[in-house]
């Protein structure tokens, strides 16, 4: 009986959260088309979410590409198919690992920071201060952060993939003695623009929407205490990571990218 009540409460809370998130999204979209345009705030967020994430994205991309090159080479060489290393590294990076790992890294690096920042603003009543000056906090604080996250993720994902391709090239060609031309031609003949590259960018864009919305929503609705800020940060990372992975499955299943 008690368990059933808990389950019902969880379900109601989930639907309640989803509805509030939808309303929150509507307010962001509305704020996007309400003057004035917050270009300066947007650029600042691009800097914080994009430029400052560059190092972690590039290093992780290189490492993932190098591991893929090493693992792929060791497996493929058993079948005498090491010429296809470029295709293995390229397709796995472009179709799956690039967008998904970038999204997970961006959740940890930028999403948590966004939630904590907005959560602290809630806790220290800065958002209430803005409201007193009749400035909509969604317009000034939330919208630039959410849109910057959406804009940044495809760019970061593409950089991650390029770094990964380079890492795979370094291991396959530099370390394992594969021919550079073979690597590149197997990569180029396996990857198709409309299926693989566009699909990858679409995934990154959708993940950007997810992370941007979840991070700002969790921060905005956090309890105005230090505990609330930490809870908002934690739940941002958990919810965003899980929904990225779940959405990844459904995007792949629906569009076959």
């Amino acid at each position: 009986m008690e368990a059933l009540r808990d389950l019902g409460y969880l379900a109601v809370r989930f639907v309640d959260d989803l509805g509030k998130l939808a309303l929150f999204t509507c307010r962001i979209v509305l704020a996007l088309f309400t003057p004035p345009v917050r270009a300066g705030a947007f650029v600042t967020e691009l800097f914080k979410l994009g430029v400052l994430s560059l190092i972690i994205i590039c290093v992780s991309g290189m490492a993932v590409g190098m591991v893929l090159g090493l693992q792929g080479y060791n497996t493929l060489v058993r079948f005498g198919a090491e010429q296809s290393l470029g295709a293995v590294v390229g397709l796995s990076l472009i179709r799956e690992l690039g967008p998904v790992l970038t999204a997970l890294l961006a959740t940890g690096r930028a999403g948590s920071a966004t939630a904590a920042e907005i959560g602290t603003m809630v806790a220290t009543e800065q958002l209430d201060g803005l409201r007193m000056m009749s400035i909509d906090p969604i317009h000034l604080v939330v919208t630039p952060k959410a849109t910057a996250m959406i804009a940044v993720l495809p760019l970061l994902s593409a950089l991650f993939i390029v770094c990964g391709l380079f890492g795979g090239y370094a291991v396959g060609v530099g370390l394992m003695g594969l021919d550079g031309g073979t690597y590149m031609s197997s990569l180029q003949s396996a990857v198709e623009f409309d299926k693989d590259v566009l699909g990858s960018l679409l995934k990154a864009l959708i993940f950007g929407v997810l992370i941007g919305l979840i991070a700002t929503y969790r921060g905005y609705t956090s309890a105005p205490t230090s505990e609330g800020v930490s809870a908002a940060t934690t739940s941002t990372v958990v919810v965003a990571s899980v929904s990225v992975l779940i959405f990844d499955y459904f995007i792949t299943a629906l569009w076959g990218v």
């Binding site: 300066g40 430029v51 472009i94 390029v162 590259v197």
Partner: protein, 180 residues
């Protein structure tokens, strides 16, 4: 919001690098790239394409001169392959097209053998001399069941009297050579 030159510069650099990465993925890796001057559109009918795909290369003497654009079924149930070739090529009308394999299990591509006719193929023309893909399984099957001398070769299941009768002769000949 105050402008900070350093930050703006870095953001600009980041956006440029990201767009550059997208462009690299699209054009260089994704094959959106322009591969050689196209424009010469030729058709060829095959009995069996055996895994030929759009964007498969078309080569002459191993040099890439174009790519396959589309593969469709024609009214006589043969595969009609559309090729986009370099329009500076001057191909005689008796040029023949054959589907061959890179290595024993590699990708299929079309190889053109240039003929010696005085008349040249124009854009939109159809090549009459074709040689279909060899299907490894059917070759093995023929070898096992000792039907190497069988008339039609790889194109045994082709409808008789279709437009490329010259091509079928050729493919039959090729099979017999391989089978013996």
């Amino acid at each position: 919001m105050t402008r900070s030159p350093m930050r703006d510069f870095l953001v600009g650099l980041f956006v440029l690098a990201g767009l550059g990465a997208i462009a690299y993925l699209s054009f260089s890796v994704g094959g959106l790239s322009y591969n050689g001057p196209g424009g010469l559109k030729l058709f060829a009918a095959f009995d069996q394409t055996g895994g030929l795909k759009p964007r498969s290369p078309v080569v002459i003497s191993g040099v890439k001169v174009g790519q396959v654009k589309e593969i469709a079924l024609d009214p006589s149930f043969r595969a009609r392959v559309e090729m986009d070739l370099d329009n500076r090529l001057k191909l005689p009308t008796d040029t023949s097209a054959s589907i061959v394999t890179a290595g024993i299990l590699g990708d299929r591509y079309i190889s053109l053998q240039v003929g010696g006719d005085d008349h040249l193929l124009k854009s939109g023309d159809t090549m009459t001399f074709t040689e279909s893909a060899l299907i490894l399984e059917s070759l093995i099957g023929k070898f096992i069941y000792g039907r190497t001398g069988g008339g039609g070769g790889a194109s045994a299941n082709a409808p008789a009297g279709s437009s490329g009768s010259g091509g079928e002769d050729k493919s039959g000949g090729a099979d017999q050579k391989k089978g013996s």
